[in-house]
Each structure stands twice: as structure tokens, then as C-alpha cells.
């Protein structure tokens, strides 16, 4: 019998030399292997060559899902839940055995307590893994946010996304949405929502607490540590993914948490911008001709010429130490090429490759020489935030670039360090 006639989900009987198997066919990534789910729940593989006879007992049925009942409680505030993909919206696909995006409302299954805090209004402008996102996606999210910020019936916004580039999106929303009038929480999960240990459960509930709070700032809301107890609301422009897999992957760099949040309550930890009754302004112009270049020992500065040739208008350099690049004592002196690029109209900014700490170009002569080239030192700004800001600033033709890059627009500079 032609095994090709099997479809994922079919109940089949397969005879091999050793045994007759009954089970559900799963989609196999290896075309020579039939993947079968047995009654015990175990999946096993049968090589196509071993099959002597096969029969379809029942055709695939649509999977019946237990859907959560969405009951709107008119006493609770409404919160827009903007879902864009990532682990927090990924679940196992029984057909393919791989991980796919969930149904939008699957997310409520894992955080039932969310519905005690707010009525979630779920929307999804797109679904993709965060490594596949680009600035156009940031703009789409910002536009979606603007809609709900202007909707009086909506109290706040939760955006869910994959962790890999979540801090870029957070920065973009901080710059794109001026005069922010409501809270925006970006949240995530590091363990997918099809497992009982998912961190999404606490993250979503805490994000909901933030979305109904008085804090009109963009924040990344997620685990403070490895325990499922406390989340932090972290400032959008001062937070970075610092671990590949842990629940507390996001760390605040050169900054302080906005609030501490548990399932029960939110405690502000600093002064914050309060809700406004005014309307926000969406300013989502963006030039993607900006690049992030990390400086390393012996690196050839010709990379700058490549970017110039490709029409790039801005480069953020992750410099060494307090803000250095290889200079005259090196075989690859960067100074002439930096000067030339700047003269040709390229904006070059320096951030700290050490991630933590603040630049200070006055300490060493290498820094003093570099200063003269016209490079803009971005003090304690995160490299990712700097990249997003540079793309945003360069898209505004009338703006004076250096002045704007040094202006503290979305708390991208620590107030105590901003001088």
C-alpha cells in the first residue's frame, strides 16, 4: 500500500515484520520515516521500507480544542493584548512535531488570573519569531499601540514578542510614541506555553498589573530572578537580554527598575510619568540605513567604507573600554577612516562595548584623538537603544543629528549620568 496516502492525523494500522502497529500519523520531517503516536502516547518511528501493509482506519479529524470562555467583566478595565509571536505564542504542532504559533486565545489558558485583573482585547498584527522582525514590524506595533492609546475604553497595552529582539522593539516604541498617555508593557516567555513550567503565566499577570497601573511609560515586564514570584517593570531603553535561556534573561543596564510586581500587587520603585488625558503622537519615521559595529582587536576599519558604499547614513560603534578604537600605534588605525566617513556625511556614534558603564573619552589619549574626529559619544546609552534611536533621528531630515542624539528623549540616558 502507498504510504504517501497517509495524512497527519489519520488513524492507521501498519504492519511490519515485527508487529502490527495502530496509531495516529504525525507529520515527519524525514520522508523515509512514518512517525506514529501510539495509544500509550509515545511517538515512535517506522522506516518506510519496513512496512509490509498499511490501512487507514479513520481519516484525520479536526482537533477539538478546549477554548477558554471569554466572559467580559464590565467592572474590570480593558487591556489591549498585542500578540506578535515568539516563544510566548508558540506551541507544539501535533501535526508537524515542531513549534508553531498558538491560536490567539491560547495565551489566556496559561494565565487565567489575567482575567481577574482586566478584560484582554486580543489582536495580532503579525506572527513571527523575534529574530525575523525588522523596523517595519516595530512600526506596525507602534501603529497598533497608537490606536489603543487613543481608545478611551482601553486602559493600557500589553505587547508580547519573542525575547531575542524584544529590547529593540521596546526602545522603538519609546521613541515612536511621544507624549505617552498610558502604560505599555512588553512581555515574553523563555519556556513555551505548552509546558506547565512556563514563565509566561507570571509574566502575563504582572504585565496586566502594569497595564492597569498609573505608570505611563514603556516597560519590559518579566521575571526578577529564577523564582515564579516577582517581576520587574524595566525601563524600555535601559534593558537588554543578558541570558540565552533563563527566566530572568532581561537585565537593566545602567538604570533602575520602575516597579516591582507580583500576582497580587505593583509597587513603584521610583518617580514615574503618570497617565495623561492628552493624546499621544505617533512619530514612527525610521531609516534602516544604520548599522551596529562591534570593535575588536586588529579589526580592519575598511568595514566603514563598505557601509558608506552601501548608502548607510549612521553607524553605532561598540567601542572598547571607556570609548576607544585602534589608533596610531595599531596596524589598523581607525582614526583616518572614521574622520573620512564623517566628512562624507556619515554619523558615527560611540557606545560602550562593555555593556555596563559609561564612556569617558578624556582619560586616555586614544579617546581624546577620537573625540576630535567628530564621533558622538553616547555616554551610558545601550548599543541596541542607540541603533534604534539613530535610525529614528536620521529619518527626521530637519533635525540636528548630534543635538538629538545627545538629548534625553526616552530616558535612554540615566538622569544622574546625563551631563
Amino acid at each position: 500500500m502507498e504510504t504517501k496516502t497517509f495524512k497527519p492525523g489519520d488513524k492507521v494500522k501498519i504492519q511490519t515484520k515485527s508487529k502490527t502497529w495502530e496509531g495516529l500519523v504525525l507529520e515527519s520531517h524525514d520522508s523515509s520515516i512514518i512517525l506514529l503516536k501510539l495509544k500509550s502516547g509515545y511517538n515512535i518511528g517506522i522506516r518506510e521500507g519496513e512496512i509490509l501493509d498499511a490501512e487507514v482506519l479513520a481519516k484525520a479529524e479536526g482537533i477539538k480544542k478546549e477554548k477558554p470562555e471569554i466572559v467580559v467583566d464590565s467592572n474590570l478595565p480593558n487591556v489591549a493584548l498585542i500578540i506578535t509571536g515568539g516563544t510566548i505564542s508558540s506551541r507544539l504542532d501535533s501535526k508537524t512535531g515542531g513549534v508553531i504559533g498558538t491560536d490567539k486565545d491560547d495565551i489566556l489558558n496559561i494565565a487565567p488570573k489575567l482575567k481577574e485583573i482586566c478584560n484582554p482585547i486580543i489582536v495580532s498584527p503579525f506572527m513571527k519569531m523575534s529574530e525575523d522582525m525588522d523596523p517595519k514590524d516595530w512600526i506596525k506595533i507602534a501603529e497598533e499601540c497608537e490606536k489603543y492609546l487613543n481608545d478611551e475604553s482601553i486602559s493600557g497595552i500589553i505587547v508580547t514578542q519573542g525575547t531575542d529582539t524584544l529590547h529593540y522593539t521596546a526602545s522603538a516604541l519609546s521613541f515612536f510614541l511621544r507624549n505617552l498617555n498610558k502604560p505599555i508593557a512588553l512581555t515574553y516567555s523563555q519556556r513555551s506555553v505548552d509546558r506547565a513550567s512556563t514563565d509566561a503565566s507570571l509574566n502575563l499577570v504582572c504585565a496586566a498589573r502594569y497595564a492597569v497601573s498609573e505608570i505611563a511609560e514603556v516597560a519590559i515586564v518579566g521575571h526578577r530572578d529564577s523564582n515564579d514570584k516577582v517581576c520587574l517593570a524595566m525601563p524600555a531603553t535601559k534593558t537588554r537580554k543578558m541570558h540565552t535561556s533563563k527566566r530572568d534573561a532581561f537585565h537593566i543596564i545602567n538604570g533602575e527598575p520602575i516597579a516591582e510586581i507580583t500576582k497580587e500587587k505593583l509597587i513603584p520603585l521610583k518617580d514615574f510619568d503618570v497617565r495623561l488625558l492628552t493624546k499621544p503622537k505617533l512619530d514612527a519615521k525610521y531609516s534602516d540605513k544604520v548599522a551596529l559595529v562591534r570593535v575588536y582587536p586588529g579589526q580592519d576599519p575598511s568595514i566603514l567604507e563598505y557601509y558608506e558604499k552601501e548608502g548607510y547614513r549612521g553607524i553605532v560603534l561598540e567601542t572598547t573600554g571607556l570609548g576607544h578604537v585602534p589608533t596610531k600605534d595599531s596596524n589598523n588605525n581607525w582614526l583616518p577612516k572614521i574622520k573620512k566617513a564623517i566628512l562624507n556625511g556619515m554619523t558615527i556614534c560611540a557606545v560602550a562595548g562593555t555593556i555596563n558603564g559609561r564612556l569617558n573619552p578624556n582619560v586616555y589619549s586614544a579617546g581624546r584623538d577620537l573625540q576630535k574626529s567628530g564621533i558622538i559619544y553616547l555616554k551610558d546609552m545601550l548599543a541596541e537603544t542607540a541603533l534604534v534611536k539613530l535610525g529614528w533621528v536620521l529619518a527626521h531630515k530637519k533635525w540636528e543629528v548630534k543635538e538629538k542624539m545627545l538629548e534625553n528623549i526616552a530616558d535612554e540616558y540615566s538622569p544622574t549620568l546625563h551631563n
Binding site: S18, K19, S28, H29, D30, I33, L35, K37, L38, K39, S40, G41, Y42, N43, I44, G45, I46, R47, I63, K64, K65, E66, R91, L92, S94, G97, G98, V99, D106, N109, I110, A111, R191, S192, V193, D194, R195, A196, S197, T198, S201, L202, S226, N227, D228, K229, T244, S245, K246, R247
Partner: protein
């Protein structure tokens, strides 16, 4: 805090007990009485019974490189977690998972410096432990099973907190084997390789449960027999046979390293799994009482598939509904597990011998039954074989490996494990090679004792520089007319530990 007395936990265990300790870990034969004396006519009521055996393997953990060491000392830190009910692969929340979800959700995990991020669910699992896979394949061969060329590591939803992930990783490795017992063949339905769960420490006042993570992730082989045992005697014999096969492979020994569950049904009832037998002697009584309970269920038409916990008095209590297929979904962090023909063949070629085979092998060396039993019990076959090259006194080799070490451990009031560690094969080889040259076979025990007392091998084997003959003549001259025994006593007292009684008596015999 209420301390948990858990059948499968080894709260009294020390780290040592998971390395190499003798233990009769199979079902105790005393636990059964002949069918004729029992309360039930098993044939008539259609008793169907199967065994599920979980055996720890003696390797590092299944999905990370952490050592499989049980800890009773203070943990390094704690992690607090919540487990949430989730929708499984087929979109259905499993009935067993639902039941567990309705109970405790908050858990505390005690983390040791022998744990890593994998056990605390902060990192995806590493590649499956190859050694554990090979041991599982050996066991599969010994059970005459057919091995799956392709299988998938599954997640079995467990949300009682005993797994930080909320599931147990498990893979079906082999199927359809058999063992032979006196009444015929008992089929082996399936063999799984899976990770062990965390050990429960306590139930706290606020309802949270505390677990320690030392046991989580130790490789386990699960063997499920077919429901083909119709009397408790057959269950006993099958369990003993399976125990013998497992102990021939690289498995952990000692309390808690093997666990047995029994599946029972009678005509008209549904399958019930009984877990947590604390005392194997209670197995028969437990089965009889369960049959009684199932008879009642059949009458009342209230039978359901369920998991029950064996209590010390032989009764059982409801634990949870029997988990269904909805409980299992693939471990997406791993690709399909392919078992090559080469790996199947290689593991089949190097199969270990069973104890019964070892027994006949050892008796060829003229060892008595007691020594054979000790060698088997202490798992010293390989060491015995190695030492055959350095000495031709087989009995002496066996004694140095077993009896002598036991005696020294008692005499010096030291743990046998400590003594075992001193006398590894290398050390024993060095001692035995001197036999017949520098030392006599009678000296070996004394030399071993001296080494335990802190002497080096060369110090311990040094010949006494006492001029025994001269000393004896001097003594006889000083105190003439005493008996040989009296001279012997005086000399032994004077040169305590430096001379052997045998040497003294020989010298005296010559002079007197």
C-alpha cells in the same frame, strides 16, 4: 513541617549508597504464599497482572553532565516555582494533569552544587546521555526486545511538582521482548529510557511542597511486562528474574534505586496501577486487598482506571486518574532519536553475563559458595578477573576482595566503602604480586590491615628486623623451664605487631 515518608525516596541514603552497595533490590520471595493458601482463586476471578519496574542507571544524568549523586547535606539555594495546567499536544488537558492541577501549584526546589541550569528548568536539555542509552539497549537485548530504529523523546505531563519542567522526559526504546520463568514466557511490552523525578522533602504549612533536585534527571529504565501474570507467585518470579537481568548491567544498587509498580485487574474491572510498595513482603496482601476492592467495584459498577498508592497496612489509597495519551507530547528541544544498526550490534556483542552465568564461571575456580555469593553481591567479578593475572591463589584473590575488607572495616570501625576505596584493583594487584616472593599468603590480611592503619605498601610488607631466634634463646636462658606456650606469650607481648605467631612458634619448636 511534616516530613514525608516516601516509599521511593531514599531519605536515609547517603551519597555512598548510590555508588556500589550490595542490596537485594528485587521483590522479596518471602512476600508470597502459595496460591492454595490464599484468599482468592486467582484463575477464577481472572487476575491479570503486570509489572512496571523502574531502575536507575549508574551514569551521570540523562540530559546534562551533572553527577547522579544523592545529597543529604545542606542545599546551596532554593527556587520557588508555580506549575500551570496546560493544553497538551492534541489540544486536550489530560485528566491526570487536571487532577494534579487542582491541587498544589507552588513548589520549592532545593538546589545543590551538583545541579545545573537544566535541572532547574533554566536551560534546554543537552543531548541524551550516550552511555545511558547504551545500557538501556543492553537491557533491551537481554530482555529479547526489538529495538526501535527511530523513536522520539516525549514529555509526559507531571504537575505534582516532582519535575521542575512540569513533565518527565521519556523515550520508548524497545518493544515486544520476553523473559522465561518456570511457568513459561512473560512478555515484555515496552522498555523506556527516562529521567528520574525530584525527591520530596516536605509538605509545608502553606500547602507548598518542597523537593530536592539531586535525584531529578538520573537515567531510569522502565520495563513494562504484559498483563500475563495470573498469580502472585508468577509476579514474584518475574520480578526476581528482571532484577537479576538488571543487576548484570551498569545499574545503581541499593535502597530506592529500583522501584516496582504493579498493574492489576480482574474480570469485569479496569486496570489499576499500584505504586509505592514500601515493603515487598506486603505485596501479596496488597494484591489480595486490591482484588477485594475491585470485586466491590465490579458489583457497584464503579470501576475506573486509576493510580493508587500502597499503604503500609496493605490497603491502597487513590492517587490520581490513570494518565492517558493526552499526557504525552514530543520534547521539541530534541530531534528524533535514531538508533543505528551499528549501535544495536555493538551493544549486543558486549552483553554482560547474568549472575547465574557468573556463578558457574566462578565455581570453575574452586571457590566455595560463600565467596561466590560475596563476589556477586559486591559486584566484584571484573576485579576478580583482573587479579587472576597477578596471583594463582584464587581463594586468596576472592578473600582480598571480600572477606578481608569486611573484617578490617569491622576491626578498624571504618565504613566498608572507605576500605573498598583503599583497595582498588591496582592496590590489590601490587599486594598479590608479592605473594610467594616477598610475603606469604598468610601475611596478606595483616598487610592490608597495616595499610588501612596508615602504612605504605612497602612499610607494610617490610620483614621484621627482629632477630627472633636470638631473642628466643636469650629469653630461655633468662627464664628457664617454662612451657612453650609461656615463651610464646612473652615473645608475642614483647614484639607486638612486629612478628607473626606462626614465626614465633616455628622458632621455639626448633630450639626447644
Amino acid at each position: 513541617m511534616e516530613q514525608i515518608k516516601e516509599g521511593k525516596a531514599q531519605t536515609k541514603n547517603t551519597a555512598s549508597s548510590v555508588t556500589r552497595h550490595p542490596s537485594p533490590s528485587s521483590v522479596n520471595p518471602e512476600g508470597f504464599t502459595p496460591a492454595s493458601q490464599s484468599a482468592h482463586d486467582y484463575k477464577k476471578i481472572g487476575l491479570k497482572s503486570g509489572l512496571e519496574i523502574h531502575q536507575q542507571l549508574d551514569t551521570h544524568k540523562l540530559f546534562c553532565n551533572c553527577p547522579s549523586i544523592l545529597r543529604n547535606d545542606e542545599h546551596k539555594y532554593e527556587v520557588k516555582r508555580t506549575l500551570n495546567p496546560v493544553v497538551g499536544e492534541t489540544g486536550i488537558v489530560d485528566v491526570a494533569a487536571k487532577h494534579e492541577a487542582a491541587q498544589n501549584k507552588d513548589f520549592i526546589y532545593q538546589v545543590y552544587d551538583t545541579n545545573c541550569l537544566v535541572e532547574i528548568d533554566e536551560e534546554p536539555p543537552h543531548t541524551i546521555n550516550q552511555e545511558a542509552l547504551e545500557i538501556a539497549l543492553q537491557i533491551a537485548h537481554l530482555l529479547n526486545c526489538k529495538i526501535f530504529p527511530v523513536t522520539q523523546i516525549m514529555r509526559k505531563t507531571v504537575i505534582n511538582g516532582s519535575n521542575t519542567t512540569g513533565f518527565q522526559r521519556t523515550a520508548m526504546i524497545a518493544h515486544d521482548g520476553y523473559i522465561e520463568i518456570s511457568t513459561g514466557k512473560i512478555s515484555i511490552d515496552a522498555l523506556m529510557l527516562e529521567e528520574d523525578s525530584a525527591r520530596k522533602v516536605s509538605v509545608n504549612e502553606d500547602g507548598t511542597v518542597t523537593y530536592k533536585l539531586d535525584r531529578l534527571g538520573i537515567p531510569l529504565v522502565e520495563i513494562a511486562t504484559g498483563p500475563h501474570m495470573h498469580t502472585p507467585e508468577e509476579i514474584k518470579e518475574a520480578a526476581l528474574k528482571l532484577g537479576e537481568i538488571l543487576r548484570a548491567c551498569k545499574v545503581k544498587r541499593g535502597l530506592g534505586t529500583i522501584r516496582q509498580d504493579v498493574n492489576i485487574s480482574i474480570e469485569g474491572s479496569k486496570r489499576v496501577e499500584i505504586k509505592g510498595f514500601q515493603d515487598p513482603k506486603m505485596m501479596k496482601k496488597t494484591i489480595d486487598l486490591e482484588i477485594e476492592r475491585q470485586k466491590k467495584c465490579v458489583e457497584e459498577n464503579t470501576c475506573q482506571e486509576e493510580v493508587r498508592n500502597a499503604l503500609p497496612d496493605g490497603t491502597t489509597e487513590f492517587l490520581r486518574p490513570m494518565p492517558g495519551a493526552a499526557r504525552m507530547y514530543p520534547e521539541t528541544d530534541h530531534p528524533l532519536l535514531k538508533i543505528s544498526r551499528e549501535l544495536m550490534d555493538r551493544t549486543k556483542k558486549n552483553l554482560p553475563k547474568l549472575a547465574s552465568e557468573h556463578k558457574s564461571y566462578l565455581s570453575e575456580f574452586g571457590l566455595n559458595d560463600e565467596l561466590i555469593k560475596l563476589l556477586l553481591k559486591q559486584n566484584m567479578i571484573e576485579e576478580f578477573k583482573t587479579l587472576l593475572h597477578s596471583c594463582d591463589n584464587h581463594e586468596l584473590i576472592a578473600k582480598t576482595l571480600t572477606l578481608f575488607q569486611k573484617e578490617i572495616s569491622r576491626k578498624e570501625n571504618k565504613e566498608l566503602k572507605e576500605i573498598n576505596e583503599i583497595f582498588d584493583a591496582h592496590m590489590l594487584e601490587s599486594i598479590l604480586e608479592k605473594v610467594g616472593k616477598d610475603i606469604s599468603s598468610n601475611d596478606v590480611k595483616g598487610i592490608m590491615l597495616k595499610i588501612v592503619q596508615g602504612k605504605t605498601l612497602s612499610e607494610a610488607t617490610e620483614k621484621s628486623d627482629v632477630d627472633l631466634r636470638g631473642e628466643a634463646e636469650k629469653l630461655i636462658a633468662e627464664k628457664p623451664g617454662l612451657s612453650q606456650g609461656a615463651y610464646m606469650g612473652l615473645l608475642m607481648g614483647k614484639f607486638k605487631g612486629q612478628v607473626s605467631g606462626k614465626d614465633v612458634s616455628e622458632v621455639l619448636k626448633k630450639i626447644l
